[in-house]
Point group: C2
Chain length 324, copies 2
Amino acid sequence: MSDFIVGIDLGGTNVKTAIVTEAREVVAKDSRPTDAASGPDAVMDLMALSVKELTAQNGIDMSKVLAVGVGAPGPMNWQTGIVYSPPNLPGWNNVPLADEMHKRLGVPCYIDNDANVACYGEYWMGAGQGAASVVVFTLGTGVGGGIVVFNQLLRGIDGTAAELGHLTVQRDGRVCGCGAKGCLEAYASVTGMIRTAREGWDAAETTLKEMCDGNADALTGKMIHEAAAAGDAYAKYVFKETALWLGLGAASMVNALNPERIVLCGGMINAGDMLFDAVRETVRANAFEVPAKRCEILPAGLGADSGVLGCAGCALARYQEEYM
Amino acid sequence: MSDFIVGIDLGGTNVKTAIVTEAREVVAKDSRPTDAASGPDAVMDLMALSVKELTAQNGIDMSKVLAVGVGAPGPMNWQTGIVYSPPNLPGWNNVPLADEMHKRLGVPCYIDNDANVACYGEYWMGAGQGAASVVVFTLGTGVGGGIVVFNQLLRGIDGTAAELGHLTVQRDGRVCGCGAKGCLEAYASVTGMIRTAREGWDAAETTLKEMCDGNADALTGKMIHEAAAAGDAYAKYVFKETALWLGLGAASMVNALNPERIVLCGGMINAGDMLFDAVRETVRANAFEVPAKRCEILPAGLGADSGVLGCAGCALARYQEEYM
């Protein structure tokens, strides 16, 4: 009988848990509110409880669990298992998350950052399955990334690799949250898309104005997507601009890494062809022919579960490397 | 006694050959004109002769040679050993270079593209030695690149990876030789630097005008470097612009790969601090603090021999993977 791996995706809002087999079968999943305000000890107790309950409910003894992988917001040290001070987890300062979870669960515990586990999830069980090299862009408030090459997560020497939202796509461009200028994230994130919409706002004739009651500060990515899907020319322009910037970042990765697949994650991928057609077209126009033809550009296959399943996948890979 | 590996760097002008030990000691080197006009068979005979002569001169029997690695201009298939039709090797069309060299020398022969072997040379014996992850930018007529991660050359699924001259650094920027716009190469190559100098040429007060007899078409990278080193303000501006663009590309790689070292190769590195200070400053300003602090940005340690020594290193790695 196959052994089990548990993934825990620790977000600021929810803690998601999943039990997966070595053969990549999802046995069970759970989600419960993080209650981040309760502080690190309570949150770690909650995570441990969620694992114990979910395994018990499914008749799985903890001795059958090879390893537990936790995906958490960075910055962190994935090797020592310490989480520094993530902005959306108040009160977390240098928390030895891997050790604390090991104390609570008695099995090897590993941590990795949330963008990396999402990438690994897509590589292991999702749209990247079967490929040895996968680049993931996660599109949300920011733009995150993950890179798998040689069938391994590329974490970099300090674990900070794959910050793909911070490829420079425009010299002296928009100021990014990171302090630099012209980062991909400043254009291709949902926040960047909203910035693009606001730039031409006053002169624009667009149904977006009604949708947000004339208040550009209330604009959301969902509104832009909906208006564009309904045929609003300005919203279509804004969406296409966003996709074009993303395509430039993707083209750079195609030329740099010649990967088999690029996988896009995050709510923005619900826009479907409107997003993917423009990204693919930009990659074809900007990357070399051979790697551009090779690289499939696909939506996430695991939806909102890329992270939690990737936690399990990363933990399995690290367990195997350490013990097998 | 250690066995030997032979590297052959096949350029349009010269064929360089080196004998190296597994312990990374350079035993002997040779260089002779390629005579590219004589066609592939004659050039391959010349390469084989150069290996036979160099080994014989050093009292090394071919039975002591583990493998031969040839670095050649792309495009090529590094796995099948076939060179397609490199622009600077007239008459070469789908030449089975690895097989032909094997016929002539009787030992395993491998081919890799010239930018990748230069990268591997720096990783194996040069400025990248001791690091597991190295990014190389080769600065010449174009901008080439090489990437080593997990102590392996990252060639990509089709062998086209590390085209670092074709990271997009400016949307709708200068038209690049590859057909796309805003590629790093259009700004940070010697050719790009000369383009920058010509852009402000008419209005510029600069000693460069005397140096090239008022003819901007005669401008060279060396002139710009010399004028800048002598204090010419316009030449200094042009050089700094070039370094700044290169720094943006380097910063993207620092954020994407979190490498231990970036190594710059090519004649432009003779400018020393004038180049490196500006590149390092741009990386610090544009990349995240942890990976920017970590990543050393260094000049090539092997000078013009990165390629030929890297050929030997690549061949050794491939031989070990195949037979050991």
